[in-house]
Amino acid sequence: ACNDSDDASGSSGSSEGSTEGTSEGSSEDAAGEDTQETIKIGVLASLTGALEAYGDQTKKGFELGLDYATDGTMEVAGKKIEVFFEDTETDPTVARQKAIGLLEDQEVDFLVGSSSSGDTLAVTPLAEEYEKIMVVEPAAADSITGSEYNDYIFRTARNSAQDAVAAAASIAGEGVKIATLAPDYSFGHDGVAAFVAAAENLGADIVHEEYADQAATDFTANIQKIIESDPDYLYVVWAGANSPWNQISDMRLQEQGISITTGAPDIAALATMSQLVGMEGFTLYYHTLPDNEVNDWLVKEHAERFDGAVPDLFTPGGMSAAISIVEALKQNDGDADSATLIDIMEGMSFETPKGTMTFRPEDHQALQEMYSITLEESDDVDYPVPVLNRVLTPEETAPPIMNQ
């Protein structure tokens, strides 16, 4: 994995000479024309800091996605594609500065990113200002395609509401009693609100909502309250390394007839959930779950390039973002003009490792498959593995439209 930043700059550099069919020699006369010859994409991701692992997944996924969508040529409609990866360090200021750099100095045609919702929100107005399309991946805050929406924003990542709808679809039913546990900040509150709406729609009964300090060392009090509310299911929305799983298992929730359900996270975090084997929940991706060619390619290619490693939670997202851009460009004959691209992308469907995604015209959110799963022990790996119960269809997990 050490060499991939080299690859990134290397591929953009070396592709220059090998491009066929583009009239490179004549490019001196106008800079504007020059940009017509290459499509430039700037990817913002947390390549250092706490979210480094996510950023890395996005990056790998994106590179693979371009390869896949262009059949390894790195060209679309005769134009070569150049990618710039920038590290946001999970700091909105840096994110904005890097985005300006990409838009102004590199004159990119597309932005992609980023790993945190805060970083993303600091950048989305720039997309509008510069009239460039930004594909949001993997930031999940609802407000990105909700209250802070603008026309240039498309999102291949699922949003919190989709998670919630998927979770509800996995467990909710008439008369099912559900309690929730979430971290006490926007992510948790958004997630729970969406879940409650979806679950109640399916006839479930929300008996308790518990919010805990994300950085807390002790969740006993929170878990105690959940036990007291006597639910059938506990739905946990969580992100970040400091997690409540140990304590949930220590407090013997499952023995008291409370089933745990949550979104299965990336592999490193799955490793901390071995006490939750048997849990029913959902996930947006695990490499064995989708059944389609794109995913097969991804798994195979990923293993080849990265030492046998399997793609992780956000790898397909990165790939989907790349595919969506290339697809749109194909349909526009390689023209990166945003206005026409927006028209094309609204309602556009494209094949991804997660099946067919469709950018919903109203809020540009990609509707996508999610997976209802059970965590099971596995002999091959040292973490519990999500095993498919059923595929939740894009329609089933469509979140409410929130940008009106």
């Binding site: 692992a53 805990a212 006993t220 997690s243 490193a268």
Partner: protein
């Protein structure tokens, strides 16, 4: 009633966990008056090396010992290279220890990789006892025991020997202490190493408790340790223990009874304590 007992026991355990972390800082910050922002670095290195050797050998004891040794060695290096030039100068201490903190945190990623790592308690400390309706988590009882042990041993050492006095005297007037024939540099170095070892020990204890380690956990928890040492009144183990337990219990009970304020509980507690007792709970004023 059960509820109260349960909250209390778990709050106590959290308190002890925090105390373990604060104990090292009680020596380094409270007693030696070094604003050591690299404390969290010592903590994560203890956690990572401890967990690594625990997982390699399968023996938790080995893990603990390795963590302590890491702490001592890192303490030695830190004291000699980073702290020694800046004794008595808080401003320089802030800068240099923060720099070192960044270096240590990032080196974790170089050596152990950037991903979070899962950790599980050793077999005998897994699971919980059920006494009546109360769940007693084994590992937490273990933490309480270790915390008490550290508290008793270190209090005894401070009380029975001149070390505590010498360190305090050395902070006030280094030259005078030397003139009395005491090798204060050596004393400071040893005390710092012990403080570092305590930080490292609390690192592995905490790692097993929370089930996961990641490079950024150091800075997060060291702020908590600073809070506890200050609330406790700087430099007394009893103060830190009391403050740590107070924080632990406050977290537990707030989370249950006033969940809306649970995010703010540490800060509120510190605000209230400092406004009503400006020198900290056990501080002499």
């Amino acid at each position: 009633m059960d509820l109260i007992i349960s909250l209390t026991v778990n709050g106590l355990a959290t308190g002890m966990l925090i105390f373990l972390l604060a104990a090292g800082l009680t020596l380094i910050f409270g007693l030696m008056s070094v604003l050591n922002f690299a404390h969290g670095g010592l903590f994560i290195w203890g956690a990572y090396t401890g967990v690594w050797s625990f997982q390699m050998t399968g023996s938790f004891i080995v893990g603990i010992i390795v963590a302590i040794i890491t702490g001592l060695l890192l303490g030695l290096v830190t004291e000699r290279l980073i702290i020694r030039p800046v004794y008595g100068n808080h401003i320089q201490q802030i800068l240099i220890t923060l720099g070192f903190m960044l270096v240590m945190q990032e080196f974790i990623k170089v050596v152990f990789g950037p991903d979070q790592k899962a950790v599980f308690p050793p077999e005998i400390l897994q699971g919980s006892f059920l006494v009546g309706d109360i769940v007693l988590i084994k590992y937490r009882l273990f933490i309480i025991a270790v915390g008490l042990l550290i508290f008793i041993v270190s209090s005894l050492i401070l009380k029975r020997t001149r070390v505590g006095l010498i360190v305090r005297a050395g902070v006030m007037n280094k030259e005078m202490v030397q003139s009395l024939g005491i090798n204060i540099k050596l004393v400071f170095m040893l005390v710092f190493m012990v403080g570092a070892a305590m930080a490292a020990l609390s690192g592995i204890m905490h790692a097993v408790y929370s089930g996961v380690i990641y490079a950024e956990m150091g800075l997060e928890f060291s702020i908590l340790a600073f809070i506890v040492v200050v609330i406790g009144g700087m430099g007394s183990f009893s103060g830190s223990l009391f403050a740590a337990i107070l924080v632990g219990l406050a977290q537990a009970f707030m989370a249950y009874y006033v969940p809306a304020l649970s995010l703010a509980v540490n800060m509120l507690l510190m605000t209230v304590v400092l406004i009503f007792r400006p020198q900290g709970l056990f501080g002499k004023g």
